[in-house]
């Protein structure tokens, strides 16, 4: 099963700034997508392919499945570009949301679940090679802080974040899965999110 084994290729830490476009660039790209400009498809993939693949792989834990899901995500984005509303967030954030939904939807099938393996958050100390493409130091810093904060969560807190973000469980579903009272799960979740929010707020301050 493909997990997060030691990297053999070049692994990058969060070239998320790749995914952040200025509003004007974003509008131009969207316009080209809506006109079905073939080059727009290539640009869309260049910008978001790696992010989408990473999220689908993280959730599906299977490289082949992640490739299929990535294909599905881009089709969805391509077909729904007309419905995208910038007021609802960054294009990158919208695409990540789609990727997460499609991947979680997929792994919720019994077959996929049987293939899954538990994978902890990757070690923050590894793979710190930065891409020359990362151009937004502030964003990188926020990303780094969030990543470190994830590693400061205790086991319970990390577990609820994993279950919510990567397995799509609501708090009551987590309570069932973990055999814990709902109130306990809520406490863990609240504490985890609080820590993460504070970390982001500190960078912003």
């Amino acid at each position: 099963m493909t997990g997060f084994d030691p990297p053999q290729n070049l692994w990058l830490l969060l070239p998320l700034s790749l995914a952040m476009l200025s509003p004007a660039d974003e509008a131009a790209l969207l316009d080209r997508i809506r006109r079905r400009d073939p080059q727009a498809a290539a640009d869309l993939y260049s910008r978001f392919g790696r992010l989408v693949f990473s999220v689908t792989l993280r959730i599906s834990q299977n490289r082949e499945t992640a490739e299929d899901l990535t294909q599905e995500v881009f089709l969805r984005v391509w077909n729904r570009a007309a419905q995208y509303d910038r007021k609802r967030g960054e294009l990158g954030s919208w695409i990540l949301t789609i990727a997460r939904h499609i991947a979680i939807d997929h792994v919720r099938s019994a077959a996929s679940r049987a293939q899954r393996s538990e994978t902890p958050f990757p070690d923050a100390r590894e793979h710190v090679q930065l891409s020359a493409l990362t151009t937004d130091p502030e964003l990188l810093e926020r990303a780094r802080r969030v990543r470190q904060a994830l590693h400061r969560l205790d086991e319970k807190q990390r577990q609820v974040i994993q279950l919510a973000y990567f397995e799509g469980l609501s708090q009551s579903e987590m309570a069932d899965r973990l055999g814990q009272p709902l109130g306990t799960v809520k406490t863990w979740t609240r504490a985890a999110l609080k820590l993460l929010r504070e970390e982001l707020a500190e960078v912003a301050a």
Binding site: L51, E67, S109, A111, R142, Q171
Partner: protein
Amino acid sequence: MTCEEIRELLEFHDLGLLEPDERRAVSEHLATGCETCARSLATARELNALVLTATDLPEPPASLRDRVLNTLSGSRRPQRSWMAWTGYAIAASLAVVGVWLGASLSQEERDLADARAALKQATISEQNLQQAIQLLRDPVTQLTAAGTGPAGVYYLNQKRGVLLIANNMEQLQPGRTYQMWILPKDQAPRPAGLFQPLGDGSAIHLFPSLVDLATVTAVAVTDEPASGSSAPTTTPFLVAKVGE
């Protein structure tokens, strides 16, 4: 709820994980135009994006780029064509007609993913696509196969309707369409939607509707005028018995 309580929920709201009552409360509050909470929502979205990508970002294989671009340009189907999947489905259904679909789908999850990708490329609306996927996923969906020349599989679900995946369909004459029919016991055939085959003779058609499977005896297809007919006017084919 106070703004503070709302802000506690915004990450999960963005993830679509709130319980219905919480979701309603957050949506209603955001709809009031509270600017502080709108800003917090933007921050929550950023946090979510950062958590989702707080992982090593492995390089996808170079071939994936080509697959995605080919799919988007519509120049060819996804690599593992849905016809292979249909072939499997037909073989499986001929072997065990009326088998409950859940098990075979579990084993063929990857093929299902291909079918889903192919469905997206077919002449089927996004809404119908979602409905088709739900129907395929539903463990109570039954399948029944039909035909030897034109061959197909019908997927039947009491609540979700009937999905037909077929191949070797003849191309229609201009001004003609294929029409699906549901044949209830002791009643006239019920029209179940119009569809056209793709250039390669394959076809996917969803009739999203409640279907009382207890009274259905068969499903079938006919060749009809482009506007469809209220009763079949040509010989039915792809006839599949239901419920025996």
